[in-house]
């Protein structure tokens, strides 16, 4: 972590909180269990983490000691240069398991489509709007979270999918 990154690590990052809340408002969902925030800048991204009260003390201690924190609590997403918030897979899982997302923002895939999607490939989905700006929550038929996607030309394009857990490992 560079000195610049260390300076930007903070317990309460206003920019992160505002971006996350705006994203959730646009999706018309609420996220509990996010009593404070921790942010970490890496490259051109600002990573935003939700932390519970129990984690605050240790995070604060490590920041004061200028130690290198790489993760705290749960990753909500990151802000790209230009201010766009990109939700994490963890946020998607949290929203999906709470059943908190309005139906029009959900795409459900069958088993064959699921396989394509988690390989990071686009999947034609009958009945999907041709183009849609919003990010969509992609689930399988069991209602399990597979990733975030975007509708384009009648297909769902992966923005982030759970297959990346093993692809990134490689």
């Amino acid at each position: 972590m560079s000195d610049e990154e260390k300076e930007l690590s903070s317990l309460s990052c206003e920019e992160g909180r505002v971006s996350l809340e705006k994203f959730l408002r646009e999706m018309n969902v609420k996220l509990p269990r996010c009593s404070d925030f921790f942010c970490r800048r890496s490259g051109r991204k600002l990573w935003v983490y939700c932390i519970e009260d129990e984690l605050k003390e240790i995070v604060a201690h490590l920041i004061v000691e200028r130690e290198r924190i790489y993760h705290a609590g749960f990753l909500a997403g990151y802000i790209e240069e230009g201010g766009r918030f990109v939700p994490s897979l963890e946020l998607g899982w949290e929203l999906a398991t709470r059943g908190a997302v309005p139906g029009e923002l959900i795409v459900m895939l069958n088993e064959a489509e699921e396989k394509e999607f988690i390989f990071g490939r686009s999947v034609p989905v009958p009945g999907l709007p041709r183009n849609r700006k919003d990010l969509l929550l992609v689930l399988n038929k069991r209602g399990e979270f597979l990733g975030w996607g975007k509708a384009l030309r009648g297909s769902i394009f992966p923005v982030a999918d759970i297959g990346s857990y093993i692809r990134s490992k490689d």
């Binding site: 240790i58 130690e67 790489y70 749960f74 988690i118 399990e144």
Partner: protein, 331 residues
């Protein structure tokens, strides 16, 4: 305690024969003869030659009912056998698919992990709401298991020195839906971790990996006595430092995936000698053979206290070779 004698292994003719038969280095064979005696050393080497099946841990943070996971995996053609030591651990006797490539793995429903490694977390027994540190944490098997037993409450400080392994640790923590962890990149000998602050500590110390020869054949010929000596010194420094992070009354698990007495009983008994507020606790696990730690090795006495520690072996417990020992910081 003589610090050098323990590393001075005189190889006998019998050890040379054993080493040739099983393709291991002669000094290793001699040590197995010392630990087990002739007959059991053969049994040990037979089980190493056969290997043990891979195993998985059902993650109740992501899937509430492990029977549901069993059912789904069996529908994919996996043959599972429950572990006797870990109630939510399974040996995979057969799998037509790669264990890391199923949708259930990607969803965080299970972690591919040795039963010995799982057993160490069960021995430490972290409770919801506690403050726990997992030192030398990558790739995250123990951190995610600790969070599971803590039901995602309290705090887990997870420390890793190696930047390359850190990415894997972070990825696994996210995949397994852990919410109560803070990951610190740092050297536990130098990092400013708060002292006297933790209820429990897991120190899965870097080791020569002698217990993993059931999985990794190359380990049979790649490590020398000199590696053991170097590792042993480093491990003693890690134990002494890590123990300071405990609250008075707090419990630390010293764990290695090694069956080498040089990396286990010798390390702990050396530290115990110079640490007034350290006491060894009885470490036993239901479903295991409860093999005690060694009192003596190669003419070096470790003391009766070391019998309270626990050894896991492939031929007795069906696990990778493992050493687990609990210590308490006296009030």
């Amino acid at each position: 305690m003589s610090s050098e004698k323990i590393f001075d292994i005189k190889v006998s003719g019998e050890a040379v024969k054993l080493s040739r038969r099983y393709g291991i280095l002669p000094y290793m064979a001699e040590r197995y003869l010392m630990i087990f005696g002739r007959e059991e050393a053969e049994l040990f080497m037979e089980s190493v030659s056969k290997g043990i099946p891979r195993s998985i841990r059902c993650n109740t943070l992501a899937i509430k009912d492990c029977r549901e996971l069993e059912k789904r995996l069996e529908e994919r053609g996996l043959v599972l056998r429950p572990s006797k030591i870990v109630p939510y651990g399974y040996y995979v006797e057969h799998s037509p698919v790669q264990l890391g490539a199923t949708i259930e793995h990607l969803l965080g429903y299970y972690f591919i992990q040795g039963v010995g490694s799982m057993a160490s977390v069960i021995a430490l027994s972290p409770k919801p709401g506690e403050r726990v540190a997992d030192l030398a944490a990558a790739p995250g098997g123990k951190t995610t298991h600790i969070a599971q037993l803590m039901e995602n409450s309290g705090t887990v400080l997870s420390v890793e020195i190696d930047a390359r392994r850190l990415a894997k640790l972070v990825s696994n923590i996210e995949r397994m839906h852990v919410r109560n962890a803070v990951i610190l990149m740092g050297d536990i000998l130098k990092a400013k971790i708060p002292e006297g602050a933790f209820d429990r500590i897991m120190l899965d110390a870097p080791c020569t990996g002698e217990g993993l020869i059931v999985y990794k054949r190359e380990r049979m010929v790649t490590r020398t006595e000199e590696d053991l000596r170097k590792m042993s010194n480093y491990q003693q420094r890690l134990v002494e430092r890590s123990f300071r992070f405990l609250k008075p009354g707090g419990i630390m698990a010293y764990v290695t995936c090694s069956i080498a007495p040089e990396e286990n009983e010798y390390v702990l008994s050396s530290v115990l000698e110079r640490t007034e507020d350290m006491e060894v606790l009885e470490t036993r696990l239901q479903g295991s053979s409860n093999t005690p730690g060694l009192e003596e090795f190669n003419g070096v006495q470790f003391g009766k206290e070391m019998r309270k520690c626990l050894r896991l072996y492939p031929h007795r417990d069906g696990t990778e070779g493992f050493f687990i020992c609990l210590m308490r910081r006296k009030n």
